[in-house]
């Protein structure tokens, strides 16, 4: 009786977990969101996703984003978080028109998935990366439970040229990316793309692949 109960309990738990997992996957739908803001003399790039996914995609250690206990200490963010942002992008090569773009981190911020921020326009992205939008749920949080939002700036225009993002070679796990490519007055194009781990993502202006 006890054994039958245990088996049925485990089975029920397994079903519950698989449903939960499927639900979570659907709720997120993709691994990485990218917002591109193109100007004649400058370009902004924003990345957002689960902190653990970003750690995998950008091939950085946990220590690059959190303290030695794997915790994010929001109280230390007062002086800015560009150093964390630089560490996240350190192994990723980004070119504009096939030349090194010299992207520098503007800011990086973590938020709990329950407080997921809009990340479609450059303005939304700018607010999401800002450290003044701090959490109201405590100052030290495990990295794996958080989403990360990072913003980068290059003093190089990209109005009519492709941006190539070469992620580090990883284990080949596909990366499901949603891209919002913003061209100022010309509006924005949004599309979804799947690349394999280590493959370069080329973001071309005006691409006609709507979501």
């Amino acid at each position: 009786m006890l054994r039958r109960f245990s088996i049925s309990t485990i089975a029920a738990l397994a079903v519950f977990l698989s449903v939960q997992s499927a639900w979570a996957q659907n709720a997120k739908g993709h691994d990485l969101t990218i917002v591109v803001n193109r100007d004649e003399d400058a370009t902004e790039l924003y990345f957002a996703g689960n902190a653990g996914d970003l750690q995998r995609i950008f091939a950085v250690s946990r220590d690059a984003l959190a303290d030695s206990e794997g915790l994010v200490d929001f109280a230390k963010f007062r002086d800015g978080t560009w150093d964390i942002g630089d560490r996240l992008l350190a192994k990723t090569a980004v070119t504009i028109a096939e030349r090194d773009a010299g992207f520098e981190a503007m800011s990086l911020m973590f938020h709990h998935p329950s407080e997921r921020l809009p990340m479609t326009t450059p303005m939304e992205a700018m607010l999401a990366i800002s450290v003044c939008n701090g959490p109201a749920y405590g100052t030290r949080q495990p990295l794996d439970t958080l989403d990360a939002y990072a913003g980068y700036f290059a003093h190089k225009g990209s109005f009519d040229v492709p941006i190539r993002i070469q992620f580090p070679k990883t284990n080949g796990t596909p990366i499901n990316v949603v891209i919002h490519d913003y061209h100022g007055a010309d509006g924005m194009v949004s599309y979804r793309q799947v690349i394999s781990g280590g493959e370069a993502l080329v973001v071309s202006p005006g691409r006609d692949h709507p979501l």
């Binding site: 400058a42 007062r78 800011s107 990366i129 800002s130 450290v131 003044c132 980068y152």
Partner: protein, 168 residues
Amino acid sequence: MNSAINRRIVLTGLAATSLSQALPKLTHAAEPTVVEMLNKHPEDRKQNFVFYPRVLSVQAGETVLFKSVDKGHNSASIEGMIPNETEEWDSKLNDDVEVTFDKPGFYGYKCTPHASVGMVGLIVVEGEGKLDNLEAAQSVRQRGRAKKVWEEIWQEAEEAGLMTESTA
């Protein structure tokens, strides 16, 4: 201390009353010029995180009030972007701060957590020797979006005629 800058933190409510009573010598009779710390530019809503106005010209001895209209900001001088022998300032987040500028010159400042997203500004203090630190201030390395914003600020200052020696 041989300082050309006086400052006081302006707190709200009872704290402000206590502080002003405790520090009467630092109170200025004249109304300070206000620089607002904002999440959005009041006229150009596409601009986030700004000091408004971001370029300001004052006479030596004048006081500027950095007013924390929106939360999450502060005002802090940028290393290498203020005249020699002047005291740095660095207010707490969300606090208003008054800074009195006694020495002519160029004073670059930032919101500490938002500097690299371009929340920076310039105070030009008119008077003899104003141009002494201009070159040094312009040569300070900026990062992120601040690079572009500083180019705009220097151009704005030039167009406003602030980059020439003060006339008596």
